[in-house]
Symmetry: D2
Subunit: 391 residues, 4 copies
């Protein structure tokens, strides 16, 4: 890493790996480029909760100590991908060249991904267990070669359809590889990942912390504050309908009804949990290539007030999913790396703030999830003195 003068990481400070499944996707590219830009002071850390005062002195790895690598099935190099994102307005113009060295460095640490969803062995003749071995070896090599104090594996690949048979879908192969390599695992997508029943024993015996699933970035973020509002005010929600328009790879992936079903399950869980019961209404996800990486989400909520008066709330959210997701990915990598370091294991239900469908039993309203997250920060802080990785 001596060739990257912009990342001041003297050999005496520990460095941490972030291994991204889908490392050449929009979210991963934005996270890698953005980490470098914020570490270098080019941008304020908007959207990063771990950079707010409550998280100081928690012993989180510094942004400048993060080293990126990952798996992907596509070849487009990260610097080129970043240029595409800048053309689409996701990254600021000029950023790809400003962080070119960091993008090149991360790109060198990307290894070929394996079978695509629905494809048993990727034409490789490998068994599922062999795939897991190959992936785990890739991760271990990364940690060793870079001299890292540890690594967190984060799934940011395209949503895969819910599996219909007993075989492990690709997301589960990567999740198993993470544990086999001794790394905590975070599932930022609605794909199966560690949720597969065949992986439950491994998850339990590994002694590793894990978190997920399905990052709560836009429409569902809103729902997690609006749902509690209606409930706290005793207003009866009659119907909650939503339409999402998005282009980019995500739009195309979610145009597959099976993939969309996985995504929508998370959205509906938030409503059912926060309202106490699932209201009428559907959620549509439309692939609209003209919108590129930008997303529009419209929600229409019909509710009854006093004496049955009919009222309506509509929300229109126009955002860029990659820009919403990337800082959360960095947050999660830092929090989970620190949790691992503190010896925490199993499902990190305290991270429900970040997810549509959180592991473990936590509250479903954003405000309570935020309170839990701050308490979690306190737990991490209490042990901040006993180790070297501090900010």
């Amino acid at each position: 890493m001596s060739a990257e003068p912009s990342l001041p990481t003297p050999s005496s400070s520990p460095r941490f790996g972030v291994w991204l499944i889908g490392a050449r996707g929009s979210v991963a590219t934005t996270a890698i480029a953005g980490c470098a830009a914020v570490a270098a002071g080019l941008h304020p850390p908007a959207g990063m909760v771990t950079e707010t005062p409550d998280f100081t002195s928690c012993g989180l790895p510094a942004l400048s100590s993060l080293v990126f690598g990952g798996h992907d099935t596509v070849d487009c190099p990260l610097p080129k991908r970043a240029e595409h994102l800048a053309d689409g307005g996701v990254l600021p113009h000029g950023l790809p060249s400003a962080v070119h060295a960091e993008l090149v460095a991360a790109d060198r640490e990307i290894r070929p991904g394996g079978p695509l969803p629905g494809d048993t062995d990727g034409g490789s003749g490998r068994t599922q267990d062999e795939w897991i071995d190959v992936f785990a070896a890739d991760i271990r090599d990364f940690v060793r070669r870079q001299g890292l104090a540890g690594a967190v594996v984060v799934n940011v690949a395209s949503t895969e359809p819910a599996p219909t048979d007993g075989t492990l879908p690709p997301s589960s192969l990567y999740a198993a590889a993470a544990l086999r390599a001794g790394c905590p695992y975070v599932n930022f997508t609605p794909s199966t990942g560690l949720h597969h029943p065949a992986l439950a024993p491994l998850a339990e015996s590994s002694g590793l912390p894990y978190a997920g699933r399905d990052g709560k970035t836009g429409q569902t973020l809103l729902r997690s504050v609006l749902g509690p509002m209606f409930r706290q005010r005793a207003l009866a929600v009659r119907a909650w309908s939503g339409t999402n328009l998005l282009g980019g790879g995500d739009g195309a992936a979610l145009a597959d009804p099976a993939a969309a079903a996985a995504k929508n399950a998370g959205k509906e869980r938030v409503l059912a949990d926060t309202l106490g019961a699932a209201p009428e209404g559907e959620v549509h996800i439309d692939d609209v290539p003209a919108l590129g990486d930008w997303k529009t989400a419209w929600d229409h909520i019909a509710f009854d007030g006093f004496l049955g008066s009919r009222m309506i709330l509509q929300t229109i959210w126009q955002g860029c999913d990659s820009a919403l997701a990337a800082p959360l990915v960095l947050d999660l990598a830092r929090l989970v790396a620190r949790a691992h370091d503190r010896g925490l294991s199993g499902p990190l239900s305290e991270l429900g703030f970040y997810f549509k469908d959180p592991v473990g039993d936590g509250p479903s309203s954003l405000a309570e999830q935020y309170a839990e997250l701050r308490r979690f920060a306190g737990r991490l802080r209490d042990g901040a003195d006993d180790r070297g990785a501090q900010r």
Copy 2:
């Protein structure tokens, strides 16, 4: 009251007064009609937080034990006013006739109001102190004649302009009268009420609880959950703009820039408190008579995500202010009556859940305000055994 068979209030149970300033307005009429309708089981208690499980066994007065009266400067009888509201869709058709007896009973307890804003003595030759005496006598007579265990005074009159000289505006005369009559006071409007410096000594020496001000019913309710969301996610709000369209008396009153200024101050306080700083942006309140008692509020929020990406959230709230306010008025009357009964005094900052510009020092996010309200319910419950007024 023996002529009102629908209110089963045996003489052995205590009954409580709700004295409404603006007793013939939309909010008051809806509260009176709705209380009777819900008490009689004609409608579920949608919008009433005090009817949710957390508030059971808190010793709150039963809805059927509430007796209404008040001051107003207009003559239109409550049954006729209720018919108008039914024509405008605020009350269900058929409700005015179903609760006709209760409306007639409340109408009999309405006494003439005093000077209008900007009018020093209403042409009466009375001094301000004499006005306070007259109003206080009206309230005391009501309590005595009805044999009530107590009464709460709630201001639901049209918003008055902020006073520009030292004299007490009408809302403050009524507030002073409440205290002089030994009654707790709730200011559901942005008018001055007890906030006048000349009333501070009286408020302190009275030993009475009070709450306010400016009920949080629609756009500001939303803001009190959206503001915290942006802050918790470290998203930088650049501009928050809003337009409110409303007809009815409220629209006309708020078309007065001075009255609107009072209202807007509360709205802006919520943003500044929840976001940490006031963003760019204005709030408009337009009188649109064609909308009658229905209101549309549009909010446009420009915020920055990761790496300065520009995003926008828009919300459109279409509701009926009277139907949103009335159940909160009933909640407040019950909670404050019980607080008085429990011997609480001074500003009830735990009721910030209900207000744009709450008295005392409480949190500004709805979720935290709700948590405070539940704790408050716990305090009321702890003493529920030592008295007879239970549900």
Copy 3:
């Protein structure tokens, strides 16, 4: 009809029949009740184009001269149906009782409908031709019994799925019956009706005028003015997406994907015709029972301006389909009755103003369609002197 003093139709003036397929549905009930109400001067003729000055002296049948009847498969009497609509806010409270006599009179002229979509013979053992005969006889009896100068058949029944085999769907049986009974036919729905190839010879040989199909009431009405705007300004529409939320019977019928497909074809035709090419984007129709007869349609239009700048227009339409459709049904009955009287035959392409998917070759922008409609009025007017049916 001598028992209905509110309809002043002296025996010397001709009276015209309006035979409604789906005569007990929301649209039919609203049309029948509304015709009586407007004729009696209880309401202004909002939404009725034929009551604007351009249509005076065109020889259209007076509203008071219209006599209603029809087919339906359900039993709920019109007065009761009207009460339901008043409860849902579609009809004004008090209207059902004000026009009770007219509703009862129309209800007496409703005959049992036949097979439902997908049901070959309704369990009756009748052949398709026999069904047509029965229906035609019903219509002829109506005309004779009421002593009418003629009748127009208008299909306002629930949308049926597009037929998949060669047999005539129910809507086509009724259309054939209209022609067999010598009556002009109007298809206000997207169902097949006269569009079936097997009916083409009959339509041509009948010498009767006909019009359709699929009334343009809300979202598509908007599209027919917005599409031309974009084209005239040379703005490149990239994607046009829409979601419709509606309850009532219509919502349930259109939740059937096959029925929705029929409806959406018309919506898309309007875009393709007015923009010159079909843009990206989907249309969803969701059944949301909580909305009752009210509909919300959201459209999101992404377009490119100068130098590729990305812009967005969104529209939200909240209306009541029955209230939008009913005056158009009355317009069409009057215009087509008069066209028949004037000896016009075949597809009335000049009525494209009213339809999503008009018969014949007419313009697709609303403004040009309106100009055509006014020219058509002129043609009807030119012959207004040669007959007795004047307003």
Copy 4:
């Protein structure tokens, strides 16, 4: 011009001047840069009506034959201004450098502007007539030095407040200068320009064509198609309310109530003309610097359907005013140059398609205005053979 190889304008073809008042503003910069980009084939001519087939062979000056100059009171050079616009997303990245030569050439032809609104003589000691002389000389010099076949003066400066006394406001000084220099005049703003009574004799005697005022770019464009839709369908509009949020210089200028009043008058005229009467409702224009050159316009339209049913249409327009205005400015310069060439004079009411408050007596619905524009193109075409300036 030999130093600008990208504009292939052989000396044998006539070249036409476009003299812009406010030549360094957003609209002017976008028009100049965009004209070069489209002429060079870098972008399709989106938003330019004169590039659609109906305007071929009308003898309009080619884009490559347009030469730009103008007046402005600010110094920022056009290339730098263009970079700012690219940073704000108004111009595509890379465009300023691609058309750098053309921007430099135009910048050399910009002369200092005169007094600002409210400032009688700009501290210069000049009389109004002397200012007009100076401006006219600037324009004549431009035409002579560049060897132009003629020039059109277009006002695209910031909106000035309506003048309150008899003196000519700055926009009128420039308008008078245009006529004195023998050039047609187009007022793309709501400022006074030629509408000043003191200029009426000059306008009449000059024999020059002129057009205006106030370009119809966004919210009002929409209103000019929605207003006719409601009227044609006989739907009674009860209230039409609007809020505009915009940053950039335009937002600041229109935050001045006097300037906003000028702008709003045009918007309201469109409603009153297309609906037949002005409905209830206000229009707000808010300066929101965070939005930069992007504008959001929200409209809320309450209308009554059949039997008084209450319905609502809302529209949200998100666009970039400069990108909407610039192609219209180019259209107008070409059309008016050609009209001048054809010997037309006086108010060009046929150009109402482009304006909120058009000169002369023309229709107010966009569709009819478009039909007029096409007829006007036909008139220009009829004489296309008798001169050299062809495309």
